[in-house]
């Protein structure tokens, strides 16, 4: 997870012009870092490319909208990175 986090934090810093030191595993991409939906598309594209995955953003959005999970599950970076790790593992399996 730590190397995933380093990669994701670097992507967010570069893509969204946010100082790297402000980005922690506890940061919420929207509430803490102020990343809007368009910037998040850039972040998602960079993450998909970096890890060779396709984050299921539509499914995640639906789960949030239906109240099944809170936004923390997908937008707190530590959780996001855990989800990315699961996608990487599923791809390798």
């Amino acid at each position: 997870m730590s190397s995933t986090f380093e990669t994701v934090a670097g992507i967010i810093a570069e893509t969204c012009d946010i100082p790297r030191e402000k980005i922690t595993p506890d940061s919420h991409a929207i509430n803490d870092l102020g990343i809007d939906s368009l910037d998040f598309l850039d972040v998602a594209f960079a993450i998909d490319k970096a890890f060779g995955i396709k984050m299921p953003l539509e499914q995640w959005t639906q789960e949030v909208n239906e109240g099944k999970v809170s936004t923390d599950e997908y937008f707190v970076l530590g959780n996001l990175c855990a989800n990315i790790d699961r996608l990487i593992a599923a791809k390798a399996a």
Partner: protein, 156 residues
Amino acid sequence: MRLEYFQMVDRIVALDLEARTVRADCVVPDASPVFEGHFPGHPLLPGVLMIETMAQTGGWLVLAVLRFQRMPFLAQVKEAKLRSFVVPGQTLQVEARLLHDGSGYAVVTGSIGCDGKKVADAEITYRVVPFPNETLRAQMLDTARRVAVPEAFLHD
């Protein structure tokens, strides 16, 4: 091209879903109200319409990849370069390549060639969402047939 109706693509001439590429021909009309203002005495295809032309061409590719089950809406244009003027009567060869088919978004690179020279290029991102209504989907299918998107790509 019917500029005043935002119909930029005249004909899809190649659509390769394996290579994830599309090529389209677009003929700039000899006359259009657009040229009355852009510019008086010096008609030029507006740069924003060159970008729109690349976006629509890439959009047909995304629609075909998704078999017209979802609609791409322009969300972002990066690194747009308008390298040369385009004037009434010229024929444009427009190409796009799908860089990434993401979940709820897609990214393409697009370019426009004219008389053997690249005149514009850009990276274009779309939000890809369910069609907001059947009217739009039916209209897109009609237009797809008009611009010669192969029938096999119009359905699942």
